[in-house]
Symmetry: C2
Subunit: 236 residues, 2 copies
């Protein structure tokens, strides 16, 4: 009788069952769906994620919802307090400072490692990606540039050839994503970003570890500056 409910997969499919990623669990798919919704901005920082509502919305019971929430909590994207449920993570200004600071350090470290250990193929790919971004910046196509920018940084994470650091870098990027939505809105930011990338790429291609570190650190510090007062009101 319950299998009947699962047989009516129509609703489910529209919401979650991607069918391509068939072999995972509901909780995993849920975690991804909720994370997406957070990164998209659908659930804003501070938003209270109620188990019952999520269960209803995604047509599952509360059990997988709870497991998904626990996952997201561990990744820092949401915060849970016992008996008080989960809310989309809000960052105080001190926490944002920590996050941006850590991000700059980790990105710089990855750039340094990348300069030392990227393969020729990886270097060439990074370079050509960077070249391609000239045109996007010139068109002032912010959306495309933002996407390419993510790829650019991800390639450097991979190029560091250290999965643990790369994972951490990706997780930091995710946690900061809700606060970076407007990153390239400022006038001329694309051109500046591209110029900073150029320094990074040059150092990496030259296998100059120190310069790569410095250039990336500088780049990330400027990114941070673009986000002066984004902090949420501190919650005691």
């Amino acid at each position: 009788m319950l299998s009947a409910l699962r047989a009516t997969g129509d609703h489910l499919d529209t919401a979650l069952n991607t069918r391509e990623t068939a072999s995972s669990t509901q909780a995993e798919r849920l975690a991804e769906a909720i994370a997406d919704a957070i990164l998209t901005g659908e659930y804003a920082p501070g938003f209270h994620l109620e188990e019952g509502l999520l269960a209803e919305r995604y047509n599952v019971s509360r059990t997988p919802v709870r497991e998904a929430l626990r996952n997201l909590s561990a990744s820092g994207l949401i915060e849970t307090r016992p008996r008080r449920g989960a809310t989309v993570a809000t960052a105080t200004s001190a926490q944002l400072e920590s996050l941006f600071g850590a991000m700059a350090e980790i990105e710089a470290t990855c750039a340094r490692l990348a300069a030392m250990s990227m393969t020729p193929i990886e270097r060439r790919r990074l370079d050509s990606l960077h070249e391609g971004m000239i045109e996007i910046a010139r068109r002032d196509d912010r959306e495309s540039y933002a996407a390419a920018n993510v790829t650019f940084h991800m390639e450097i994470y991979s190029g560091a050839h250290n999965d643990v650091l790369a994972d951490f870098a990706r997780s930091l990027r995710r946690r900061l994503a809700p606060y970076r939505r407007a990153q390239f809105r400022a006038e001329g930011r694309l051109a500046r970003s591209h110029a900073e990338h150029a320094t990074v790429v040059a150092a990496i291609l030259a296998c100059d570890a120190g310069a790569a570190h410095a250039a990336m650190f500088h780049h990330m510090s400027l990114v941070e500056d673009a986000f002066g007062q984004l902090a949420a009101p501190s919650r005691a």
Copy 2:
């Protein structure tokens, strides 16, 4: 009728209910208990953590067990595969290399930041802790030294004044703990460790960020060397 089960808290208390940390949930206490058991070596890498058995052992239902496992999985201490349950994380040699490499980078970064931003009080405390370790090393008291060593590194994490980096450093240390149990077993390792610490402390006290980074990186690299072939057989 179920509340009767909870009323028989005697068994529970022996296992979990610390009573001091009263206000958390079962799942949280469980996660800590299981993590402890893993770090103690009671559950060795590769050990299969069966929900039913854990539930029985800790006198709870499978639900909080599952949530605890989900938490630990996210922290990297255990690995879960859908429909196949959880096992204590085993690291391949490549993963261990990543972990030690990341650890060295992060520790070095924390040391650099600590050199720049530790308060005078923090500096003094670090120094006196370090001085106290001379005596422990001289006695060759490995257990005490290991404990003090953890404190030493933790103080540097805190001294970096960046919670995100500090958390990451602690999490890395935890993930590596199962592989570091024999760290100070080698003859004369304590004295060597203390000498390396001395360089780090000196640099931090001198506010020499570059030197602090280099000294700590060197120290951590030597630690890594002490763990040549600890890797588990790759399970691809």
